[in-house]
Amino acid sequence: MDLTKQKKLDAFLLGILLIGMILALYMAFLGAPRERTMGDLQRIFYFHVPSGIVGLLAFAANFVASVMYLIKKDRKWDSLALSAAEVGVMFFMIVLVTGPIWAKPVWFVWWTWSPRLTSSLVLWLLYLAYMLVRAYVPDPERRAVMSAVFGIIAFLDAPIVFFSIRWWRDMHPSAMIEKGGIDPAMVPAFLTCSLVFLVLLVYVIRRRLFLESARVELERLERAANLVR
């Protein structure tokens, strides 16, 4: 895809995103009913949970791209893996910041070492470490292989985060969207916000990927000009 088409697609995605965000905010604050016990505070749910979902999807994209890099040895997969990991870290940061803000008035603690919270924090730290590994290995091929292996191992924690509330006793309500979990009146707002966050995930990964492509091009030119070893 040429640059003009890419920019047009980015502008289109941004337009969808802006309209979607307004709709998501409307649904979260006005469209969804007021929860019986938590009141308006429960509205944190509509951005907190979709952030977690798209964060896990970003880490899944990193896993797939890491596997593909090890098979194909194509730098494009490495760039996608890095972009997905960085974006995943950003979304999980939202989860880890909004979670305690929600927990304090409901559970009366900012943080508790429950399985879901602990595994989420570990996952976030693993991908932070993934980015540190990348920052400290100068050789591009070695960096790509090492980080691909690290990314595959780090992703082992993702199923633990997802299933932790089913496998162990946790303060988190289990299976929010399963039957008997979330109130049917809250489903449209939840689905709208999840869909908007999905578009946001695609948009941000595309932007980050574009940045990484420019960095790879700079690295290639510097090597061609013998400016670096």
Binding site: T37, G39, F47, M93, W102, R208, L218
Partner: protein, 56 residues
């Protein structure tokens, strides 16, 4: 729990979401600009460097 006391937590959570998103998007934007400038400088350097002139 269903009172005004919890409203500042709701405000704090949504403010945190927008701040994190804005900082990240701004960091992408500024890194992109820096890289674009570096690429342009490098291309100019390559075009005008002495061994290129000799070849020409």
């Amino acid at each position: 729990m269903e009172n005004v006391d919890t409203m500042h937590y709701l405000f704090a959570a949504y403010a945190a979401i927008w701040i994190i998103l804005a900082i990240y998007l701004f960091s992408i934007q500024s890194r992109e600009k820096k890289l674009r400038d570096e690429l342009r400088n490098l291309r100019e350097f390559l075009e005008h460097r002495p061994d290129n002139r000799k070849k020409a």
